[in-house]
Every structure is written in C-alpha cells, then in structure tokens.
Assembly symmetry: C2
Homo-oligomer: 170 residues x 2
DNA sequence: ACGAAAAAGCTATGTGGAAAGCTTTATGCT
DNA sequence: AGCATAAAGCTTTCCACATAGCTTTTTCGT
C-alpha cells in the first residue's frame, strides 16, 4: 500500500461515521471522478481560450473525426455526444452563427438536414482537438509510462465488464 | 490485448484522420470519462428519487461525514465540494427551505455562519449516501474483485502522480 | 391508398450552477 | 489608532443544457 491520500481520509471518516459506506465502491467512484475531473479541468481551460463549450467541442470533434466531407445529421450528433435533441439544436445554431458549420437540406428525407464543417470549422476543430489532446498529454506525462498503460488496460477490461447494462456511448 | 471496444473505434478513426491525436492520453481521458459517467449515471438516478441535486447531495454528505454536531461553515462546504461560493449559497437556501439544514450566526466571526443538519437532514443524508453507495456497489459488483482492487490501487498511484500541480480537492 | 404511429428536429420554458459585484466584518501595516 | 486590504458570503445576472411539446415528414399496417 502507498501512503494515505485525500480519498483515504474521506474513507476513514465514513468508517467512523457509517462504516458500511466506507468500501471499495466509494473509493473507486471518488478516484475515478478525480481523474476525470483532472482531464476535464485542463480541457476546459483550453476550450475557454478557443471560446468553445464542451458541447460545441464535441460536435466539432465528431464532425472532424468522420472525415470528408465532414458531414452528419443532427440525430447522429445527438447520439454520438451525450446531448438532448434540443441541446444539439442550440449548439448547432451557435456553431452556425460562428461560421463553423453550415447546413443543407437532405434531398431524400424532408425532415432531416445535414450539418457540415465549413473550412474554418475544420481549422477550428483541428486546433481544438490538438489543444485538448496536448493538455491531456501533459497530465499523462506525469505518470510513468508503464503505469499509464497498465491503467488504460485495466480500465478497458473494467469498462467491458461494467458496460453490459449501463447505457454509455460516445 | 482484449477485443476492440468503442473507444478503440474512436482511436482508429483519429488514426486515419489526424494520427497525432490517437494516443494514450486520448484513450485514458475517454475511458476515465466513461467509468465516471457510469458511476454518475446511477447516482443521479438515486438522487432523482430523493429529489436531490448532485450539489445538494454533496453538502448533505459532507455534513454527515464530519460527525456530530454535523456543522460546518459555508466556506468549508465551498472548499470541500467543487462549488462556487454563490452556488453554495443557492444550495444552502434550497436545503434550508426543505428543512434539511438550519443556520446560526457565528459568535466569533460576524461575517460567517454555521450550517447544520437538522434531524431530518441527518436522516435524508444517510438515506442518500446509502442509496448512492449501493448503486455504485452494483456497478463494482460486475467487476471481478481482484481487478477492481487492482484498478483502485493503480488509480491511487496515478492520482498521486497527477495531482501534484492540478487543483482538485474533495 | 389511406390513416395511424413513429421519427426528426425545432421552439419555448425551466433549472442548476458559474461569474461578477456588493456588503459587512476582520486583519494587517504604518 | 486609523486606513487599506483581504476575506466571508449573499445577490444578481447569465448561460448552457434538459425537458416537454409541437410541426413536418416518413413509414407501416391493413
């Protein structure tokens, strides 16, 4: 065992107060939340510089990732991100106003439209993805390589076990 | 290696589109986010039943955890949760209106007040903490015991390495 | 072919929490 | 002691996103 960290303090407080609370589930939930918060924290700082919200970033990243012609339907974006259809609509309106995406009617399905990155949208998407990934890399660089890879592998296994029943996509 | 999961698909999409993006930092960030989302998801469902927001739950849990007389200053709550001072204020107003916390002036420091769980607040706090922990335990139960403990230990080590410079408390 | 039900996506409204600014009280410097 | 600065916490404003309901179009059953 390593020396006590901040989560250990929480655990031992619960151990005194309500012993049945202090267990592995609490530890895992807290530690997982802390690691995610660290990633989110640095990503948020980068996105603030670029004047993008998390949701906007998500849309740009998904559109860039699908490759030419950088085009998807709103419903596909709603599904790929964890966003409501109304939320997607708002985000697309903002991105449209900023000139980062354009929209065109779908010839086959009159209910639907295509959302497409503009050339500037492609640029911003790439800049944002690079900035966020670089920020994440600065965190991972603090971890010894072997340990980071171990964590990744264990996480993958665990997620495979966990995700059989919980929603979660991305 | 295990078989490809959903994150692997994202990685390979980036590998085609912008190869420098597809790396360990992205994988770790995504997998960490997914695990945290799984925990948050089930916790949110429990809290919804109890008519509590995440922030309200946080306040109740911290107050219950410090033990008798279940009392802290708003600034201590602001620090313990990841909340702004204004956000803390709003949450306390709601909890006060719901009869779960009471407030009393601090005799020593006129700027400050004490926030204290009412008897009902203690009950609700315990019910909420038990419900959330039980929900988390249902997730952890899907993971083989040895692997869950391995993950916890690796996470702890990694956090120790990462947290030297990133904020993050709780 | 026609009506019912489902699907896509938009609009309107609600909400939780952040940010900034204000008031009051405490502290520190000279 | 007296003034300036800092700290505590509340109020106000704002914003991103969720939820619910609506319109339009498609699909499916008969």
């Amino acid at each position: 065992m390593s020396e006590p960290d901040h989560v250990d303090e929480i655990i031992s407080a619960w151990h005194v107060q309500l012993p049945e609370i202090a267990g592995l589930p609490l530890e895992l939930a807290k530690r997982s939340a802390l690691l995610t918060a660290a990633f989110d924290e640095v990503a948020a700082r980068e996105l603030e510089r670029l004047r993008l919200t998390q949701a906007e970033y998500g849309v740009l990243a998904v559109l860039r990732r699908v490759g030419e012609p950088y085009r998807l339907r709103p419903s596909e974006l709603t599904g790929a991100l964890l966003l409501s259809s109304g939320g997607t609509s708002n985000v697309l309106k903002r991105l449209g106003a900023a000139g980062l995406v354009s929209r065109e009617a779908d010839a086959d399905d009159g209910r639907s439209t295509w959302v497409r990155l503009t050339p500037r949208g492609v640029e911003v998407a790439e800049a944002a993805v690079r900035a966020v990934t670089a920020a994440h890399a600065r965190i991972v660089d603090r971890i010894p390589r072997a340990e980071a890879e171990l964590l990744n592998n264990v996480l993958k296994d665990v997620l495979a076990a966990v995700e059989e029943g919980v929603l979660v996509r991305r």
